[in-house]
Amino acid sequence: MRRQRMPEIREGGVNVTPLIDIVMCLIIFFMLVAKIGVDTGADRNIDIPTSILGTDIKDMGNTLVLNVVNGPSGVPDPQPIVTALVKRPMQDMQMQELKLHDFYDGKVHDQLLETLKLYRQGDSLLKMQANPDFKVVIRGDKSLIFKFLAPVLMDCNLAHVKSFAFDTKQPQ
């Protein structure tokens, strides 16, 4: 009697199942950890100071990041250059320079102070509610001198901002 042989079975290629398992785990990890599409308005070109201490701010939703660098010197009214990602009427969030004093429409506007008050005290037109927990994150260049930092802190105070924080990097 002739013995029937089992048909020879060969794999068509490498077994990709473990690869897919690992890659799927990585995708889930990155989806949970990575902040995609979350723009706080932090200017990455600013060289921030180093600090060993420091805490994380968990609730970044209540914060406004102010990028502050030294302004031009040798002008009559020297001002720091402050930029932030802010909401404007009938517009989306956009990066904007907030001048401490700006003259237009026949009067002086304190753009920074007005913006901080808007975030702190709210505005019915913009459908923004008063936020007593509103905080300011100051992302200042390490060469920023106190002469330019002080007016920013003063405006935070005038807008009744409860607390502010300096953005620093951990030492390498």
Partner: protein
């Protein structure tokens, strides 16, 4: 009768995983490149309102004043000078080194306050920097106060 097909080589007949792997790899690379993790940054938080010398009105009677002392920070040429209250004064060319010395003296002061029965949660340190002091020089002073155990650190203005 022989069945010819039974002798032929059988390849794996599962679903074709190649397109799935391609797409998944593209998603993975996108997430790795687009995601921002910001793990190397942290914040020095201050919840003490800005203090300004020589402004304001007379406070109402019965007002309880918090215990506070000042740290004056100045830069004179290459020297970084920090003076805390009337008990500490440090000069150095390196702000970090100066503030390490300051931390030790502030820790002594912290102990003195504690021994005197002062409620430490109410003690405020107000940093008064000179106009030309950089943020890189301010942060070590801020850190020194926090390292010594003082949690309420704020800033003050000599004049606008």
């Amino acid at each position: 009768m022989k069945i010819q097909g039974a002798k032929k080589i059988h390849y794996d007949s599962g679903p074709n995983m190649t397109p799935l792997v391609d797409i998944v790899m593209v998603i993975l690379i996108f997430l790795m490149l687009a995601g921002s993790f910001n793990t190397a940054e942290h914040y020095l938080v201050s919840d003490v309102p800005l203090q300004a010398k020589g402004v304001g009105a007379k406070p109402p009677e019965g007002t309880v004043f918090p215990t506070k002392f000042t740290i004056n920070v100045s830069e004179q040429g290459p020297l970084y000078i920090v003076k805390a209250g009337n008990f500490a004064s440090v000069k150095d060319t390196d702000p970090r080194r100066a503030c390490d010395q300051l931390t030790g003296q502030l820790k002594d002061q912290y102990r003195n306050f504690k021994d005197a029965g002062v409620k430490m949660a109410d003690v405020q340190i107000i940093i008064y920097p000179e106009q030309n002091v950089t943020l890189d020089g301010l942060v070590p002073a801020f850190e020194a106060a926090q390292k010594a155990g003082f949690s309420k650190v704020g800033f003050g203005l000599n004049s606008r």
